[in-house]
Every structure is written in C-alpha cells, then in structure tokens.
C-alpha cells in the first residue's frame, strides 16, 4: 500500500475491516473536522461552557473571588434545601419503581400474551399522551384531579378527596407528579421495550419452552435478562428527567394558589435563588449538586451496562 502523506496523528484504533486506506490520510482528517465543526461549536457553547461556568460560579462569590465550598454549605444550610431534595428523592423512588415494573410487565404482556393486532392498537393508544408533554400534561391533570370537573370525580370522592385543595395537599405531590410523568412517558418506553423483546430470536424462546420453562419463568429468566440494558437505559433517562423537575411543580404551585411550596423541587429552589434573591452563585451550587447526582448515577449505570459502547462495531 502506498501512503502518500504521513498521517500527522495516530488514530489509535486500528481499522477493523483490514482494508488499506486508499487516500492520503491528511485529506480525510480535514473532512472529519469540517463535518464535526458545527456540532463542536454548539457542544462547547451550550454543553461544556455552561457546565464549566456553573462550577466556576459555585466556587466563587458575586465578586468572582474563590470561596471554596462556601456556596455549597450556604445553600445546604438553607431551610428549603433539604425538603426540596427530599421531595425529589421520594418522587424519584416512586417514579422509577412504578415505571420499571409496569413498563416491563406491560411490554411482556403485549409481546407474548395477546393477539398482535390488539397489541399494536394498545401500544398506540398508550403512546398518545406522549404528545402532551410539559405544560399541557400538567394542565390536563389539573382537570383530572379537580373533583368539580374530573371525569373520575367519583374515584376522588371515594378516596375522600372532595375538593381540589384536598387533592393538591403537599404530601400528595410526589404521587401526582408520578402520575403525570407516567401518563406522558410510559407509553413510549413500552414501545421501546416491546421492540427490544421483539429482537429476542424465537429459537431462544422455543428452546426455553422445550426445556420446560413456563411462560412466567421464560419472562423472568430469559426475556428480562436479555433486555436488561434497555431497562437500565430507561432508568438512567427517567432518573435524569426526574432530577430536573421544574415546570410540573411550578404549575401546580400556581394552580394551588400557593398551597404548594414555590421551592418544592431543587430546580425551583435554584430558580428562586437566581431570580428572586439575585444569588447566581448559590443557584449554581444547587445546579452542581444536581449535576453531580445525575452524573454519578448515570456513570454507575453506564459502567454496569454495555449499552453505550464507544467502540466501532
């Protein structure tokens, strides 16, 4: 093979297909850079820089002087800090458990226990609320949870909730937010899980049946382990979105005329720090708490699954 130009950089990974590079390396190098240029600029401007900036703000004061961990201890000592993280934690546990259990269960049922036509219709109907994310979903649930207008007011009454105020009691918020999140998000995940189950070769299931495994043993010992990485992926994403709660409690706060705390979730607290107290450094410290939480959890899960492989196939 003839390499006309010496490659200026070693590419690290050897070419897997074994074919010889047919063109000078230099030209391909430049093309690669051009292709990623636009994205790299956006990545630096809106991914890397804001992250670095939030760390910088969290470790300095408003005059830009380095203050070590002062901002972190300051916000952690704030009387609203612990409740906000506690709320988020309760919500996250509830949301993750319900999401994982129900989505996997329903996907398994839709994949193997009912007729394919019915399954397709159900998957589609479950999926529709996904179009109503964000503000719209919260507004819809404000109506569903208002005994005056709700189509299931009988159910609310049966649970002893006779007024909107009673439904929106602060203790109910994790449950309400879980309902909203499940309503908008679960259908999409069921479709993903269904597809993952679909990718399991029939021979594997056949073999399990031959070995005498009942349907539920097949689910537990064959199907679930084989879609494990998808379950992990769902959990990561659900965790990440769960730590970001902002619009949902914010709207519930508005709609409840202040009965729900305006600093219910950590992101709301950061918002109040920044825009009502003018304390961007404190707000950044809260953001860094959340970021670290998200990154540690995601890192752990990524390390334990092989879903995100960076290697070429």
């Amino acid at each position: 093979m003839t390499v006309l130009e010496t490659p200026r950089v070693s590419t690290g990974t050897p070419r897997r297909d074994g074919s010889a590079p047919s063109r000078p390396r230099g030209r391909r190098l430049n093309a690669g850079y051009l292709f990623v240029a636009g994205y790299t600029v956006l990545l630096l401007a809106f991914g890397v820089f804001p992250t670095a900036y939030s760390f910088y703000l969290a470790f300095t004061n408003e005059r830009g002087q380095f203050t070590g961990f002062n901002q972190f201890t300051k916000v952690a000592k704030d009387y609203r800090f612990l409740p906000a993280f506690e709320h988020m934690l309760v919500y996250l546990v509830l949301w993750l458990v319900v999401l994982v259990v129900l989505v996997v269960l329903v996907a398994v049922v839709l994949r193997g226990r009912i007729r394919p036509g019915t399954s397709a219709v159900l998957r589609f109907l479950y999926y529709i609320p996904g179009a109503l994310a964000g503000v719209a979903s919260v507004l819809v649930w404000l109506f569903m949870l208002d005994p005056d207008v709700s189509p299931v007011s009988w159910l609310l009454e049966a649970m002893g909730l006779h007024s909107f105020a009673a439904v929106l009691a602060p203790g109910h918020l994790p449950l309400i937010l879980m309902l909203i999140a499940f309503w908008t998000g679960a259908g999409g995940w069921m479709v993903v899980m269904y597809g993952a189950l679909n990718n399991i070769p029939d021979e594997v299931l056949e073999a399990a049946r031959m070995d005498g495994a009942g349907p539920w043993r097949t689910v537990w010992h064959i199907q679930i382990p084989m879609i494990r990485q998808w379950i992990v992926y769902m959990a990561i994403m659900a965790f990440a979105t769960g730590t970001q709660l902002f619009v949902e409690p914010q709207l519930l706060q508005t709609a409840s005329l202040g009965r729900v705390s305006p600093t219910w979730s950590p992101n709301q607290l950061a918002f109040v720090f920044a825009f009502q107290q003018g304390d961007f450094n404190g707000a950044a410290a809260i953001s860094v708490f959340l970021l670290s939480l998200g990154l540690v959890a995601a890192g752990l899960l990524v390390a334990r699954s092989n879903l995100f492989s960076l290697d070429d196939k």
């Binding site: 297909d17 391909r28 939030s54 999926y127 964000g134 970021l291 990154l295």
Partner: protein, 303 residues
C-alpha cells in the same frame, strides 16, 4: 424420562391458573387503557361545552360546535390575539432549531462513525456525558452566558441552545456505525468521490430513517420545552405556546380568581388552548408512529 410427566403435570395444573392470569392481565391492560386515553377524550370534548356544562353535565358528553367557536373567539381575543403569536413563535423556534440541529448532527454523527480524526473519541465521550446530563441544571448558567452576549430576548437565545442536541448526534452515530458498510464508502472513494460527495450521495440517502427520527425528537422536545424560553424571553409577545399556556393558566378565574377576574378564559378556553398547542405534535405522532417505531429500534438496537 422426566420431561413427559412434568409437561403433563404443568398442563393439568395450568388451566385454572391460566384463566386467572388471563383475567389479571386483561384487567391491567384495561385499567391502563382508561388511564392513558380518558384524559385525552375529556380534553377533546371540553372545548365544546360551557364552563357550567363541564361542571354539571356528564364529563364525557359533547356540547355543541357553536360552543367551540365561542371558546375559539375568547381564546384568540385574549390580549389581542397573543395566542396566534405564541403559536407562530413556537413554530419559528422549533423549526429554526430543527434545521440547525439536522445540519450539524447528521454531519457530526456521520463523521464520528465513519471517519478518523484526532479527538474523535473525546468528542464522543463528551457527547455521551452531556446527553445523560440533566439539561435543566444548565439553564441558569446558560441564561448568564446568553445575557453576557446580549442575546436575552432575541430568537437566538432559544434557537441556538435548542440546536445543541447530543442525543441526535448519538443516534446518527449509531445508525451510520451499524448500517453503513465502510466497504461501500471505500469503493465510492476509489471511484473518485470526494468526502462531501460521499456524504451527500451515499450516506445521506441511506440515512432517511434516522433523519426522520432525529427531526421528530428534536421538534417535539423543543416544541414542548418550557424552562429555557421561560427564562430568556421577557416579553409575552415572544413566548412560545408552552410558556403562553402558563400565562393563560394564571389568567383563569378558576385557578386564579384575582388576576382572572373579568377575563373570558375559563376551562373550555384553557382546554381548547391545550388542544391547539399540542395539535402539531399530535398530528406528527399520528402520522409518524409506524416510521418512528421501526426507526427508533433500528437506531436503538445496533445489531
């Protein structure tokens, strides 16, 4: 042979338990069906009724077409037709960032999957990390950054951050990495294609499913985004419809008796506003369901 008696035994015992599990499964699916669909039906019916009818009539009854017209007029009269502005803004923000997102993420995903350059691995890793990172926590520093560059209150303060979509890059990367054979590119290169022609003539036509997928996720995500526009757009005329809905909510007498007094925004108008706000996304959903599901899995499974 132990298989046969075992099989016979399970066969005999299975009958009643099978019936029970069938009932449980059926009940679960039915409850979920009601849970997912009932609110949507209620929402679609609500604008056809007056506020009084919504409270007193059967929740799943239809009012009248005329009432929908009345609610429509009330809604679009609100603050001199600001609702139309909000919808247009949403279209501009989501559409503008969609074009940018596609332009940068398809090329970047392609290059990451099929070319070698220094820093490729770093770029991939950073992409992965930012993809999993909770984006809302970056909204505050983003606000300060945009403020420093005097972009607050301009369309760019929304479009540019929206255009950064690492998940899209990752999807494209996986798609090209798994479904575009390198041999095909080498062959075309032998035939004298330059890198740009390789991309536009070979890779891009093959990438239609993943382009659709990225476009869909990006558009829906941006259309529904609330936090960033809520912070960076000070003026009601600039709101996208999601932030507008929030303002409508605070103007509804049933939720806010003080601010909402004297306004014609009641539950039917609010419900209609929600329907109008989600209509583009809902239509996209209905039309692209099949493509989406197959594309989602093609991009997802890597095999």
């Amino acid at each position: 042979m132990t298989d046969i008696p075992l099989a016979a035994r399970t066969g005999r015992l299975a009958r009643p338990s099978k019936l029970l599990s069938f009932a449980v499964v059926g009940a679960l699916l039915a409850v979920l069906l009601v849970f997912f669909v009932l609110p949507v039906i209620w929402l679609l019916l609500a604008p056809s009724k007056t506020a009084g009818q919504i409270t007193h009539d059967n929740p799943l009854s239809f009012g009248s077409l005329g009432q929908i017209g009345t609610a429509w007029n009330h809604l679009f009269d609100f603050q001199d037709g600001v609702m139309a502005h909000w919808l247009l803004n949403s279209a501009i923000y989501s559409g503008g960032s969609l074009i940018l997102t596609l332009a940068v993420s398809i090329t970047a995903g392609y290059a990451l999957a099929l070319t070698k350059f220094k820093g490729r691995k770093t770029l991939l890793t950073v992409t992965l990390v930012t993809m999993i990172m909770p984006q809302a926590t970056l909204v505050l520093p983003l606000f300060l950054e945009l403020n420093k560059f005097h972009l607050i209150g301009t369309v760019w303060s929304v479009i540019l951050p929206f255009s950064f979509y690492p998940f899209g890059v990752y999807l494209v990367y996986i798609y090209f990495g798994s479904s575009l054979p390198r041999d095909l590119l080498s062959a075309a290169r032998m035939d004298g294609c330059n890198e740009w022609q390789l991309f536009t003539k070979i890779a891009l036509p093959l990438a239609k499913p993943v382009v659709g997928l990225v476009a869909f996720f990006s558009f829906v995500g941006n259309w529904n985004n609330f936090f960033l526009p809520y912070l960076v757009l000070p003026d009601s005329d600039q709101f996208p419809v999601q932030v507008g809905l929030n303002q409508l909510l605070t103007s509804t007498p049933s939720f806010n008796p003080v601010a909402g007094a004297g306004l014609n925004i009641t539950i039917p108008e609010l419900a209609l506003a929600i329907v109008v706000a989600i209509l583009p996304v809902l239509v996209l959903f209905l039309f692209s369901q099949r493509t989406l599901v197959s594309g989602m899995l093609a991009g997802a499974t890597k095999e």
